[in-house]
Amino acid sequence: MKPENPLLACLALAAGLLFLSPVLYSVWMSFQTTDAYYTGTIDFTLGNYEMAIGQYNFARYLLNSVIVSGLVTVIGLAVATCAAFAFARYTFGGSNLLFGAVVATLMIPSHITLIPNYLTLAKAGLLDTYAGLVLPAISNGFAAFFLRQYIRGIPRALDEAAYMDGASPLKVLRRVIIPLSKPAILSMGLYIFISEWNNYIWPLVAIGKEDLYTLQIGLARLYRVNPGEDIINWPLVMAASTITILPVIVGFVLVERHLIRGMMMGAVK
């Protein structure tokens, strides 16, 4: 990597810090005691985290978020990859129409289907279950669309070589397409994971049991305490929000390279 003009580098760093300042400050705030925060003094503690995890059950919420986002990611990727493979490699009766139906979901906000989906899942008895959180989230064409664009960039000759070598379509998918789409699949996986991690409106309506709250719902509720309840404990809220942000940041740092590369390869035709 090239050495940078130090002045420029400093400026850029400053701009970056300023850009992130709200997040950074909120993390800093999460380590302050409530009293210190309200009186404007400085006094550090880990108590907010203890409270968030202990009293406010954020450990459980974290687990729920991990389970739900994890399942959505894994199942969503599997389903999307299969479909993307078919759309990228086959022309079959109605393939354009079906692909159009998949792409159109990009343009349909999930909110439009909120009420019917709620009723459907209610009828199926799936509200207040992990399945109720996971299943509707998989109905998303973005991953399939994105992966198809990517797979189309993989030379078709590679599949054909594998067919000539004696592979079945499933083998081609597993042994050739998936390994070669790894950056795209990884970045799509992170994208799905993050979207689901941040999903708010659906868990908000689909989950009533506190046991099944995701971090987002837990955090939003902690922030919007009851009228007639304690004042907003900002340091506590910020600790909870840091707990909510942290795993995603860790995940991001881990796959940053793949992500940026994958996005770059897939998103633009």
């Binding site: 299969c82 906000p109 909110h111 289907t113 109905s139 064409g141 939003a220 910020m238 991001f252």
Partner: protein, 289 residues
């Protein structure tokens, strides 16, 4: 025979999900939109287009539409322009630009609720960081989230802040795909920076712009979390985006008929927009390299 049905087997799972959780619900929405129901009554009387009429006659609906349009109209170009500019500055693979990309991308992967919460604090009138800055500079406080003329802009700002990183990364990808050779060619031909940017970069990054435009317009119509956390549509409906209204009508007032009618109208609107977009812009985008 097996050869024929193979592709169908591959797309079946996804299509099943999409059918059950997207397309069937749309049909159900249409049905519910012509009924009157509050979840509690055992019956759902058919009322024809009453719910639509109610909506179209209401001040709220048009307000929500207007607010959403303003939001989309300003936030989308703002995002894209800023992102294109910043992306073109961060193209080189130096550690500074990688760091900057990381910093800019971070909000995109950060919890929206957390961002809403943090920015509620940042823009809170009495305790917020913004006003602390302003008073520090000797200026008077601004009621960021209470002033109807300002609150929407605060949301546009926060939304842009959050989404910018994603747009930038996509733009970087698009810009890098243009490759250096065209720039080399332009340099040899005697191009100056601005001219080359306008005549080469902007047109060639069009497919990316189109993609982002599509995604961000959809997103603009889906913004909910930030609104719910920061303003709940207030003050006085100034940030009452369509989806927020949808949630309010459907899930706080439980006017399922009107809520569904709103969903159906939103759906029609978005599909129309998509068609217009692909008619107007889509055509200009497809050239081969």
């Amino acid at each position: 025979m097996l050869r024929r049905i193979t592709p169908y087997l591959f797309v079946l799972p996804l299509l099943a999900f999409i059918a059950v959780f997207t397309y069937v619900p749309i049909v159900q929405s249409v049905n519910l939109s012509m009924r009157e129901w509050d979840f509690l009554s055992p019956t759902k009387p058919f009322v024809g287009f009453d719910n639509y009429r109610l909506l179209l006659d209401s001040r709220e609906f048009w307000n929500a539409l207007r607010v959403t349009a303003v939001f989309a109209l300003f936030s989308v170009p703002l995002r894209l322009l800023l992102a294109l500019f910043i992306a073109s500055q961060l193209l080189r693979e130096t550690w500074v630009s990688r760091l900057m990309r990381g910093a800019l991308f971070l909000p995109a992967v950060t919890s929206t609720v957390a961002i809403g919460v943090v920015f509620s604090w940042v823009f809170s009138t009495d305790y917020g960081m913004m006003n602390a800055l302003l008073t520090g500079l000797g200026l008077s406080k601004v009621a960021w989230l209470q002033e109807p003329q300002i609150a929407l802009w605060v949301l546009i700002f926060v939304n842009t802040w959050k989404q910018l990183g994603y747009d930038i990364i996509i733009y970087i990808a698009g810009l890098q795909a243009i490759g250096t050779e065209l720039y080399d060619a332009a340099a040899v031909d005697g191009g100056r920076k601005g001219h080359v940017f306008r005549r080469i970069t902007v047109p060639l990054v069009m497919p990316t712009t189109y993609f982002l435009l599509m995604v961000s317009v959809i997103e603009a119509f889906q913004v909910f979390t930030i609104v719910d956390v920061m303003t709940k549509g207030g003050p006085a409906g100034a940030t009452d985006l369509v989806v927020n209204m949808l949630y309010r009508v459907g899930f706080t007032l439980f006017d399922i008929g009107v809520g569904s009618a709103l969903a159906v109208l939103l759906f029609i609107l978005l599909i129309t927009l998509a068609v217009i977009k692909s008619r107007v812009i889509g055509r200009k985008v497809h050239y081969e390299a």
